[in-house]
């Protein structure tokens, strides 16, 4: 073994933490809130370790402290990937909010012992994926995220729909894994190696086929149309906080991972860009049209997520096709803004489910009078997702538009026109969904009286929601610090 152990320290903390939490919670018979606090501490430790790694090795190509493992081509090697660090940073941030929130939202579940470790394993899987330098390890980490995510989705196994959703995700992601394995076969058959650094020097038709396989595999996990079939069921049936984590971070990360692998397997930047733009257009239109007719808030958010996958793919596609750094920057900003807005929306929806046992639109009429916190914060999230200034989503939109208008190419402009069309169509969904919470109820609940019974929202749920609202507003009003982080990341990322 050579290099610096601190490179794998965040992974060790997360994986070790997962097992540690399980043991401690079981043996000490800890309650849900204690387990949530433990998870929070582990995630904070992982965040500190991640920051430490980045601080120690500013230049991954120069520093010996930027890798850990066996340096031979057949050895297992982990290397700092700054893009990965960025995405994991966001994942851990969202994970922190999700953990605190789950301190209350899971208080009615007896199986919380397994819940928190699964969150940690899912995030560690993502970290492993980005830090791995060979295809086999990438495949293994993909499988880890699949298994842990499936278990999280089907966490409320007493509900048949949740089990079905988890199974659907398992099948689809498993299919993606198999296709990736096929990609591993083609690549190994041609190059005789699984190390990405070796393969990238010997690319041919087979490695390119392998790249295609990986692209499809990652797209399944990202929920790209037409491989999106799991998305509506999963995001509406998984615990709401988990939907936030999956929709906001996990699935979108795959869109960054795919290029990182495919470009090294011989796929050209322009090919990749074209694929991304093409499917981005379909995704945004499909998502925004379908969200119009949804009668459940979480299914609505699921289709909104499909549309946002399209927006992100469009930004990245422009970046790859025209080798434009500004578009990748826009993509990285869209990623973080989408992560916080989507998590916020799902957490707010989760509050409705927790207190009202429903997130159906019909049941949310006039809910503001009963629960103002999720109504207001959920509306902020929806307004942000709709791209309204001065929230995070608007800056993402501005960056994408700026990048596209910089090149003024017909393909890009056509894509931009569809982007605009999609955002207008989706407004027809966002505004009614936002408004319904403030409208008078036609039901027979307490809001028929002048003084409605107000539900007191648990501080465990209110705090993460407030934190996410602050981030949505801060990213909208003062985006400069985050843009500087992206700029710094872009110095070390060689996606283009």
């Amino acid at each position: 073994m050579s290099g610096s152990f601190s490179v794998v320290l965040p992974i060790v903390i997360l994986v070790g933490g997962a097992f540690g939490i399980t043991s401690i919670t079981m043996f000490l018979r800890l309650k849900n809130k204690a387990a949530a606090v433990l998870t929070l501490l582990i995630l904070l430790s992982a965040l500190a370790a991640l920051t430490h790694v980045v601080g120690r090795a500013p230049d991954p190509s120069q520093s010996a402290s930027a890798f850990y493992g066996v340096l031979s081509p057949d050895g297992i090697l982990f290397k700092i990937d700054y893009l990965g660090v960025y995405l994991i940073f966001v994942a851990i941030l969202v994970g922190i909010f999700v953990s605190v929130y789950s301190g209350e939202s899971l208080s009615r579940d007896h199986r919380f012992v397994l819940y928190y470790p699964l969150i940690l394993l899912t995030i560690s899987g993502l970290l492993g994926l980005f830090f791995s330098t060979d295809l086999f390890n990438i495949f293994l980490w993909v499988e880890l995220t699949t298994v842990s995510s499936s278990a999280l989705i089907a966490f409320r196994y007493q509900h048949e729909a949740a089990v079905k959703a988890g199974f659907k995700y398992l099948i689809m992601s498993g299919l993606g894994g198999m296709i990736m394995m096929l990609g591993v076969y083609f690549t190994y058959r041609s190059s005789g190696s699984l190390a990405l650094s070796v393969i990238s020097d010997h690319t041919d038709l087979f490695t390119r086929i392998g790249a295609g396989c990986f692209l499809v595999g990652f797209w399944i996990k990202a929920g790209v149309f037409p491989l999106h079939t799991w998305v509506p069921d999963v995001y509406s049936k998984a615990p709401s906080a988990i939907s936030g984590l999956l929709a906001g971070v996990m699935s979108k990360s795959m869109l960054f991972l795919a290029p990182a692998v495919c470009l090294r397997l011989g796929m050209s930047s322009s090919e990749l860009g074209l694929f991304y733009i093409l499917f981005a257009c379909v995704n945004m239109l499909f998502g925004s049209i379908r969200l119009l007719k949804q009668d459940n808030l979480r299914r609505f958010l699921a289709y909104s997520s499909i549309a946002h996958t399209g927006y992100l793919m469009f930004a990245l596609g422009i970046g790859f096709l025209y080798e434009l750094e500004a578009a990748i920057t826009a993509g990285l900003f869209l990623f973080v803004s989408g992560a916080v807005m989507k998590s916020l929306a799902f957490l707010a929806a989760g509050i409705y489910e927790y207190y009202l046992h429903s997130s159906d639109v019909e049941d949310l009429k006039g809910v503001y009078r009963r629960m103002s916190l999720p109504a207001v914060t959920g509306s902020i999230a929806l307004a942000g997702l709709a791209g309204i200034p001065i929230l995070a989503g608007f800056n993402g939109k501005w960056l994408v538009f700026s990048a596209v208008l910089e090149i003024s190419d017909p393909t890009a402009l056509l894509g931009l026109a569809l982007f605009l069309l999609s955002s207008v169509i989706s407004l027809g969904g966002y505004l009614p969904m936002l408004a319904v919470q403030f409208q008078p109820s036609n039901g027979d609940r307490s809001d028929n009286t002048d003084v409605p019974v107000r539900d007191r929202i648990s501080i465990w749920m209110a705090l993460p929601i407030a934190g996410l609202v602050a981030l949505v507003v801060l990213l909208g009003v003062i985006p400069s610090p985050w843009l500087r982080v992206i700029d710094w990341i872009m110095n070390w990322v060689s996606l283009l």
Binding site: A383, I388, P389, I390, F394, N395, W398, L399, F401, S402, L405, E406, L416, L420, S423, V424, L427, G428, L431, P432, A435, F438, Q439, P479, S480, L483, R484, D487
Partner: protein
């Protein structure tokens, strides 16, 4: 930081403080919320008046701090003579609407939220007129839309208010997106987000791109102005919105479209680039003028009559701006101000009538002069005002608009049609007055005591209309200075 800069930021920050205060003061009564809102908005009126002395030195008052340096975006505000005219117009209209709200039943519940949204609405418009950065301009432009949509959505009348609000939001947002594309293109292609710098650099863009931008800007701003056939959001939105919001929508917000046309296509691009659009702007103006007047003539819902009148009046403004002559543009800007006063007055009158008669269709109304003598006098002055009777203000502005039309160099018949079209304005105005106020009193259960909170601002606006009409010189001077500062003698 100079005192003038501090004052300038106060136009934005003091209303923001008012909004925050009201959102925190959840138990504020309607009167308390109104007082906070009126004081906050009052600052936006007083400060520009104080800054007049600085403006008279010949330099605009400006303030700028970097906002998103990596994107070249700054928080830049500038008060010049042109923005002053639009700013004061919208602030005065909002103040009148705020006072008027006190007599309205709407906004009783959650009045802190209602008044904070009214302030936000006005803040959006103030920011739009003061923004000196394209990003900032768009942020305020959208704030104005969001606040108005929420006001309609929450306090609007009728079961279909959600549908109406959605229609209004989507259609005007499409226009906004067209403006957004233009703003970003300008910034990306010229490398600056500052309007002052853009005025220097935009003319160096390829002619094709300039014309593409002009076209998109014009369509985007015409949606906001509700120019035929882009007006389809207006009648419903004006009808459903609570009366004070309708007043702000019609008298102030529509004018923001005209301001946009002045600040972007007209001020940024050379006359040669604008030339191909002149005829189309004038034609669209004439169509809008006549269509709006005919619809107002045919309409039976009293609120919709005045709503369609806005479509018609915006047509005059577009016609004047489109003529690209000094007289036409000046007339257009003055028409913005006079229309704001007249429209505020007419909607206030409609509000009092609806309040007293509880009937909204013109055939069910009549003889209100017997019940509401003071309101009838106000209505008569308003009707004469909209009909462009001298010496009331609209006469002056229409005179200048038509002069601009004759001097535009385009076929005279366009201006003649516009002139003849103005007769329809007289018809619908007289029909409006005659059917509501003259004849036999109906319905029988009408109450004759208009709420003083409704009547006092109505009388104040009437007096203001008379004063403005009789003494147009200060406004004329401001507008002339405004146009010469912004356009540098190009027109």
């Amino acid at each position: 930081m100079k005192i003038t800069e501090l004052l300038l930021t106060g136009i934005i920050l003091l209303p923001v403080s008012g909004i925050i205060l009201m959102l925190l003061w959840r138990k504020a009564s309607k009167t308390q919320a109104a007082i906070v809102a009126i004081i906050s908005e009052g600052f936006a009126f007083v400060i520009p008046i104080i800054l007049l002395a600085e403006l008279r030195t010949g330099q605009p008052v400006s303030f700028s701090v970097p906002w998103i340096p990596m994107l070249g975006i700054s928080f830049s505000l500038e008060l010049n003579w042109l923005s002053l005219v639009f700013l004061l117009t919208e602030v005065l209209v909002t103040l009148a609407a705020m006072v008027y709200s006190l007599g309205e039943k709407r906004g009783e519940k959650a009045s802190n939220f209602y008044y904070s949204l009214l302030l936000l609405f006005s803040l959006g418009m103030s920011g739009t007129t003061l923004a000196e950065d394209v990003f900032l301009f768009y942020v305020f432009w959208e704030l104005m839309l969001i606040a108005s949509v929420l006001l309609i959505l929450i306090w609007g009348s009728g079961k279909n208010r959600s549908r109406v609000a959605l229609k209004y939001f989507i259609i005007t947002h499409i226009g906004s997106l067209m403006v957004l594309v233009c703003l970003i293109t300008l910034q990306v292609q010229t490398g600056t987000a500052s309007l002052t710098a853009l005025a220097q650099r935009a003319s160096s863009l390829p002619i094709g791109m300039q014309q593409f931008l002009i076209l998109f800007f014009l369509i985007g701003f015409c949606v906001k102005m509700a120019i035929f056939p882009l007006h389809i959001w207006l009648p419903d939105a004006h009808t459903v919105a609570p009366m004070p919001v309708t007043i702000v929508l019609a008298a102030a917000m529509l004018a923001m479209g005209a301001y946009g046309i002045l600040r972007f296509p007209i001020a940024l691009f050379p006359v040669q680039s604008m030339q191909p659009f002149v005829i189309w702007m004038m034609v669209a103006g004439v169509f809008s003028e006549i269509y709006g007047a005919l619809m107002a003539l045919a309409e039976k819902h009293v609120k919709r009559i005045i709503a369609y009148s806005s479509v018609s009046q915006m047509g005059y403004i577009l016609f004047g701006l489109g003529s690209l002559t000094a007289q036409g543009i000046m007339g257009g800007v003055m028409h913005v101000v006079y229309h704001a006063i007249v429209k505020t007055l007419l909607f206030m009158v409609v509000g009092i009538v609806l309040h007293a008669a509880r009937e909204k269709y013109i055939q069910d109304l009549g003889g209100m002069a017997k019940l509401l003598p003071v309101t009838t006098i106000c209505a008569a002055i308003g009707v004469l005002g909209i009909s462009a009777m001298p010496p009331l203000g609209i006469f002056t502005s229409e005179w200048m608009i038509f002069t601009g039309g004759f001097r535009s160099g385009y076929p005279v018949f366009l201006t003649v049609i516009s002139l003849i079209g103005s007769l329809f304005t007289v018809f619908y105005a007289l029909r409006f007055f005659g059917k509501i106020f003259l004849g036999e009193l109906k319905p029988s259960d009408s109450t004759g005591n208009p709420n003083k909170a409704l009547l006092v601002p109505t009388i104040a606006v009437t007096v203001f209309l008379l004063v403005e009409g009789l003494a147009p010189a200060p406004l004329l001077t401001w507008v002339m200075r405004g146009l010469s500062t912004v356009f540098g003698g190009a027109y």
